[in-house]
Amino acid sequence: MQKTSDAAELAAIAKRMRGTAIQMITEAGSGHPGGSLSAADIVVTLFFDVMRHDPENPHWPDRDRFILSKGHIAGALYVTLAAYGFIPVEDLATFLKPLSKLNGHPNRNYVRGVEANTGPLGHGLPIAVGHALSAKLDVSQRRTYVLVGDGELQEGSNWEAMMAGSQYELDRLTVIVDRNRLQQGATVRETNDLEPLDQKAAAFGFAVVEVNGHDHGELLDVLSAVPYRPGKPTFVIAHTHKGHPISFMSNNTAWHHKVPTAEQLELALDELKAGAA
């Protein structure tokens, strides 16, 4: 699969990824559609444009790293890995099936292109800090991107890691927050509010940028611009909608890990085809 810096083309890829992800989750009878859809544009933009990596040589030492800290949207990652050539497209049909490599949370030992076995929340950011440190020790220009959920930021380990990332001036580290404002059963605000998130991240020594997490042009500009501020890691607050852009899923807590019926799947695919974006 070719890289593209064309926002419209990225949007088209993301639309296909969304369709495949919803289908996969429906067929598997399990999965996390809400968060998969909110993060799709971020993941697609990273894989299809921003990151320097090679599916033919997945262990290339100087590759950029992408760590999916919100491991429960493994489905969205698998779809992207397959589309970009890291894993065979046929493997997607095994998602969550007995003995499949495609577990509900990614496993680097079985799935090419996966950098960390995530699942429990609050693990990806410390791992990303460690990787960014290794790059600094190697005097390498390779970059580290870690995608975290906003609810996930309630885990204290993230803030431990942010202090370290700032202390070590890891300016090739980028934390992207999928700021869909919903967690499992309620809004983040109702549960344990993060605001003022921008100020908190800034206070922890990060350069903070806010983007529309569904706008590929904006995502491209920001994610390619690392280091955004020399000597500081970057904290991208990507404003998204859980379940985007499916009308009945969007911004609806119920779809955190609800499985669509066959009818709902048809409806969702029709909406995607009709051009909702």
């Binding site: 030492p61 790293r65 496993n107 680097r108 030992n109 950098e115 960390a116 076995n117 995530t118 699942g119 429990p120 609050g122 693990h123 950011l125 410390p126 791992i127 990303a128 800090v129 460690g130 990787h131 960014a132 440190l133 290794s134 790059a135 020790l137 190697d138 580290t144 204290g156 380990s157 431990e160 890691a161 202090m163 370290a164 202390q167 070590y168």
Partner: protein, 337 residues
């Protein structure tokens, strides 16, 4: 000279020279060493030999005795501050970038605070991270049960893809570290603070998963490791005075366990006593018991720490829980009579 031969089934007996040496001078009278010194010396040697080696600490530079390492390799000692979850995650990320991280932190905090990171980031992810549990067991005796690390072995033993090594002296500590640095994958090494005499010859070659028969015997078997091992050797001397022939097996690797050596001991002697600076539930004693009960049931006595311990020095507490040489000998006598 020490005679190291590989016996049938794989244990490496140090007989007869260890026995003849102990006949001349009890192991209890030998000089004592803090294994942390061997640890830092070996880590510095490894770092000189291999640029991929880095240290990762949770502010534990002093307590891990890493000041000299920090001076020699200022960029390669990563101090994340008092943040154990981050520490293990960072070590995992360093491994992702090709580094070999030796995480040095008080075992109580390393294993309890970062247990999920140890499970998911290191073991399940099969990352090349070496977890070094400093001052484990009862080392912080007077500081109380928050700082005692008696559970670490049981916790980590429950995790798949984790090798657990509990060295008994400075020679074994250094040997285990050299092995850990050379092998790809997760390893947990306990690094003792309580001083111990040398129980191994200088040319001792640590073999992972391999028990070492330090003293042969056919009445009863004593299985131990870490700071308690030398105490079992003295116990065996005392038992010999009573005409009881005790086999002493050093079990530096708790996981994977040398089950053959355990089954042979169960078969060839009349009972097994385990003794360790750890909880009586699920550590070395538990591992031996699991093997015994499924292969050749025999009488057993598991010595260890059964509770949140009261205040006292490490040595005092080990004695209190029956792990003085006299206590171990008494347990063995009782078991077979």
């Amino acid at each position: 000279m020490t005679d190291i031969r590989v016996k049938q089934g794989g244990t490496t007996p140090l007989e007869p020279s260890a026995a003849s040496r102990s006949a001349r001078q009890s192991i209890a009278d030998r000089p004592r060493y803090d294994c942390r010194n061997a640890y830092v010396e070996t880590l510095a040697e490894l770092a000189h030999e291999n640029h991929r080696i880095v240290g990762v600490v949770n502010d534990s530079v002093g307590s891990s005795k890493l000041d000299a390492f920090k001076r020699a390799f200022p960029d390669r000692l990563i101090n994340v501050g008092i943040a154990e979850q981050d520490m293990v995650g960072v070590a995992t990320g360093l491994a992702n970038g090709g580094r070999i991280a030796f995480v040095s932190a008080a075992s109580c905090f390393l294993t309890a605070r970062a247990l999920e990171q140890i499970k998911a980031d290191v073991a399940y992810s099969n990352r090349n991270v070496k977890l070094c549990g400093m001052s484990p067991g009862m080392a912080y005796g007077e500081l109380g049960p928050t700082h005692h690390s008696i559970e670490d072995i049981a916790w980590l033993r429950a995790i798949d893809n984790m090798t657990i090594v509990v060295p008994a002296d400075p020679i074994e500590t250094a040997a285990a570290m050299r092995w850990a640095a050379a092998v790809e994958g997760p390893v947990f090494i306990r690094v003792s603070r309580m001083s111990v005499p040398e129980v191994y010859p200088e040319d001792y070659a640590f073999v992972p998963g391999r028990a070492v028969t330090l003293r042969d015997g056919d009445d009863v078997t004593l299985i131990s490791n870490g700071t308690v091992l030398w105490r079992t050797l003295v116990a065996a001397e005392q038992l010999a005075d009573d005409g009881i022939s005790a086999r002493v097996i050093s079990m530096p690797t708790v996981k994977p366990l040398d089950t053959e050596a355990v089954v042979r001991a169960a078969r060839e002697t009349r009972g097994i006593v385990t003794a360790e600076e750890a909880t009586v539930g699920g550590a070395l004693g538990g591992a031996v018991a699991e093997t015994v009960v499924q292969n050749h049931p025999t009488k057993m006595r598991i010595l260890g720490v059964p509770e949140f311990a009261p205040t006292g020095s490490a040595g005092f507490l080990l004695d209190r829980y029956g792990m003085s040489p006299e206590g171990i000998a008494a347990a063995a006598r009782k078991l077979i009579t």
